[in-house]
Amino acid sequence: MTTKPELMKRMVKGPDGLEFEVDPLRDYYCEAPPTVMPGAYIQIVEDFFNWARSKSLWILGFGTGCGAIEMRPLMTPRFDAYRFGVAWRPTPRQANLFIISGYLSTKTLKRAIRAYEQMQNPKYVIGLGSCTINGGMYWDSYNTIKKLDEYLPVDLYIAGCMPRPEALLAGFEEMKKIIRTGKAEGANQYAENFAWYKANQKRVIHDWDMPDYNW
């Protein structure tokens, strides 16, 4: 692990003249690995929550690839996904659904992982288009990952290059079904296979300069 200079431990003089030690990796990041979070003890409560979760999909507004272009029609009058309980949140903390909109370059993958880890359990991932499934037209590119579920747990794939908004809406409906049946446990899956995911991630992200887990 290479550490960038600004992430190294150092002494800092504050505006008030006091010196204090800064250890960015410890201070800025939370390093505790994720744990498997069981659902509510009473099944009916969990079902109720799942129902609410399915009706309120908050999508992280992170356009990772070209599929992001079809998000705008979704948010706007023609398709108006809001009426299906889908909304966009600008911060990963508040989002539940991460749409990987197409290819991920390794540089974006690093950010996407971080954004994913900042989301709260339960969280879902939809892979959009060929590129997330098996590399798509960038199958021979040196800079994009080919198989998304190697790096993040994926709940749903939508075929297309890029998928039309209608297909995306169909995807949302399918996602809702999955959530309602309680099968969307990507976050726990990530926690369970944490070491495997990390190993895969580190294999392709060469300048890994962050803690393993940094929500």
Partner: protein, 180 residues
Amino acid sequence: MRELYARLKALYPLGELTEQRKNLAFVTVPAAHLRDTLLHLRDKEGFTHLVLLTAVDWLEEGQFQLTYLLNNRALACDLGLRVLIQRDTATMESIHDLWPTAATYQRELREMFGIDFPGSPRIEEEFILEGWNSIPPYRRDFDTLKYAQEAYAERPGRVTHDPETHMRLQMYPGQHPAGK
């Protein structure tokens, strides 16, 4: 274009003019004279717009071709200056002081081709790639497919058959290909 070439030729040792279209031509300039030629074109001939700066890898000849494409809007014509530099040393004078925007191009060339432009701002910084650990990717000897297959996991289970071989195996099982 011909007159312009004649004027330039009188000043600098240029190569042959390649007229691609009536308003686009390319000419080879020795690296040492590039700066003067560019300045002359920019200040005297009205080629004020640097359209692009890029490189072509002539691996077989061991050379990089840098292309400086200039545009003269009033005459609506373009002139591409080709500069051939050695591939193994790959260093070229920076022109970021003539066109500030050239610094970006030079950063990209540095990263993607490994051509150095000493003195260009932020030339050492990573531009597009992050944590790159192989030879500069736009070089011809970099095999992107091989790299991709080694670096990234693909979905297994793909298998294909060559129609020619498959037919032979199906129709003449066990038979050696004649004469081979």
